[in-house]
Symmetry: C2
Subunit: 391 residues, 2 copies
């Protein structure tokens, strides 16, 4: 285990109808003029926004609406939000939505008090502070409700970059599983794929002696597979959604990712996919993650992938040929993703084999090697996309 710091001061407010308490938490955290960031029309048509605004009004909190944030969030609405927020004297960001809405709110929160271009924070500069952020979560997937991170695509360059710092950890996050019941099955499945990926990106490591976090990550994935199947069979199952929602937070607040190297190659391999084709992040991960695992299983990573195969998917260990066990685990993961309706190939998400050189280029690898579990050079990136593009 490596040395680390862990700090997760977000107040999580979990359960049915708890978004009706939002005004109280905004007030506790010093908000008096709120920018209410949200996505599409469903937040309005479902009555959710009305309930939230009623709670704000009741607590005497002023607000402006800032809607229309789209999946795979881009920089333009961030710039506009910063300008508008300054004009209106906004002192609190309230995100009502999933990862895209939360990350947009986080970016605006950093940008408002900053003199320069907010994009600086997405190209390596440490955040200098941010307005306080609150969340009402409507999609269990990104984990941004409990994380110190945000991911935004620059819509001029198509660079999909991340920023991070404790100042963008939400002050509170309200998690009402019932709010996710109206999600279409495909989006629910995308969330499940994203959550499991967040576990795998932590799980696949070369750091020795990480038994506790290993077992926690394995337990998390096993339970999300169990609950994921349940929710696909019965989309109105509040209990399954509650389990998935808590899992999505826990896996990404990093309590089971500390003390070990992590490998986010698969996320990067996917980011350029969703930037180029506007495919849902979780769907892109369903294509990329097993392809990456298949590559790693045949390039030195077989032992740890075999551990995943046996401990998570109950595969029988082939001691004479661990690679076989590892590949059996990858097959089992693909079968699960297929069962919940996720795509597994380029063809299924409209990605094109002939675009592979472009995708590799967009990854800005140069002559280096990326990732920590199995280092990937340019050729490896090609090979993984080739696996994903296989019919």
């Amino acid at each position: 285990m490596k040395s680390f710091d862990f700090y997760s001061p977000t107040h999580f407010v979990f359960g049915k109808d708890r978004e009706n308490e939002v005004g109280k938490y905004v007030k506790e955290n010093g908000g008096s003029k709120v920018m209410l960031v949200y996505g599409g029309k469903s937040a309005k048509s479902s009555g959710l926004l009305d309930r939230i605004e009623a709670s704000l009004k009741e607590t005497g909190i002023d607000y402006i609406e800032w809607g229309g944030i789209k999946p795979n969030p881009v920089s333009t609405p961030v710039y506009e939000g910063i300008e508008q927020g300054r004009k209106e004297g906004i002192d609190f960001m309230l995100a009502v939505g999933g990862g895209s809405v939360i990350d947009t709110a986080k970016a605006i929160a950093m940008g408002i008090p900053y003199d320069g271009d907010f994009w600086d924070f997405f190209t390596g500069k440490d955040p200098e502070g941010a307005l306080p952020i609150g969340v009402v979560l409507t999609i269990a997937a990104a984990g941004s409700e409990g994380s110190p991170d945000a991911v935004i695509t620059n819509d001029k360059t198509l660079d999909k970059n991340g920023a991070g710092g404790d100042c963008i950890r939400p002050k509170f996050s309200i998690l009402n599983p019932a709010l996710t019941q109206t999600l279409p099955p495909y989006q629910t499945a995308c969330g499940i794929s994203d959550i499991i990926s967040h576990a795998f990106e932590r799980y696949f490591t070369n750091t020795p002696d990480v038994e506790v976090t290993d077992r926690l990550l394995e337990g998390l994935v096993k339970s999300v597979i169990h609950e994921g199947k349940r929710v696909m069979e019965d989309p109105d199952n509040y209990e399954a959604r509650a389990n998935i929602m808590w899992a999505g937070m826990v896996v990404h607040n990093n309590i089971m990712g500390v003390g070990r190297d992590q490998d986010w190659n698969s996320h990067h391999l996917e980011h350029v996919l969703s930037a180029l084709y506007d495919v849902a992040h979780g769907a892109g991960l369903a294509v990329i993650m097993p392809s990456w695992l298949e590559y790693c299983a045949t390039h030195g990573g077989e032992t740890r992938i075999a551990q995943m195969a046996t401990r998570i998917f109950g595969c029988e260990m082939d001691f004479a040929d661990p690679k076989r066990t590892a590949l059996e685990g990858v097959k089992a993961y693909r079968a699960f993703l297929k069962e919940i309706g996720m795509p597994l190939t380029f063809a299924e998400i409209g990605a094109k084999k002939e675009d592979i050189p472009k995708l590799v280029e967009m990854n800005h690898i140069g002559d280096g090697v990326t990732g920590g579990f199995i280092g990937l050079d340019k050729q490896a990136h090609f090979d993984i996309y080739e696996i994903a593009a296989r019919e």
Copy 2:
């Protein structure tokens, strides 16, 4: 899953030598005059206190020493600490030790700003605030370094009671696994027993649909069993100690205990044992927890205990007779406790069968029923102590 709030704002600082940074964290949290609470001579003789005091001095922080806190902490040093703390104008409590030292510091922290008797908070009154608390942990066991709780025994009445509130969550906790390497094997094993008990007290529940927290708790116990065996074979194993130390925090900060009823009967059954015989808490739990499980397995709790038996201890499920599987799991847990040198019976801890009526009396059960998994009346308390007193 039930509705819940989860808030764990402690900054965890984990790794070798990190206690040398303590001055910085005290300062960040507004401390200028510190009461440095610690236990026996080893903190001094090992040089740990010197290093901590050097870091405080370097940061310009004044302090007084407040040593001599004993295991199973009692109220007298709390009263004395409150008086001394007020006299000295203490504004920050720094606990250097394990659960007993931390809980004493927490009690003093609540008592200094309070007009009345600090014991009020241990008999039902909500805390009204507390001085900020920091921790340098030297024993992995109690989990108090990340919890909002404290347990103190009133040395007049022998009541061992708890208090709780977010104001006594430590501002920071420094976890250096190397500091636990000097612990005698018996105390190391007591810590392991305590940590696994903290998982079981959350695990055994009647709340349905708690698959995510179930799997996390199972993973935690499996890994602590694994690392527990390693550390008993090789006490200098930093890595095993690091895993156990993080597990001890994670299991008790409640991130995997939320959304479900918990059952703390076994802890209460043990508290009176350690109050009467001054046995180490973890050793008392090694006697009580399997006895309680055995009782529950034969009084309606067999299904969930069989789940523990199969998922944690790898027992084969006997579908025709789940009770058999459950009892096999209890047997497996006893075998593990024995392997790490823990006592399993009254005789081994010097407890007396003829004291059972007194122990039951000390539990203040009256005609009621305690606990949530399997409700226990007075007779059940007798029966469980009888199991523990069996030769």
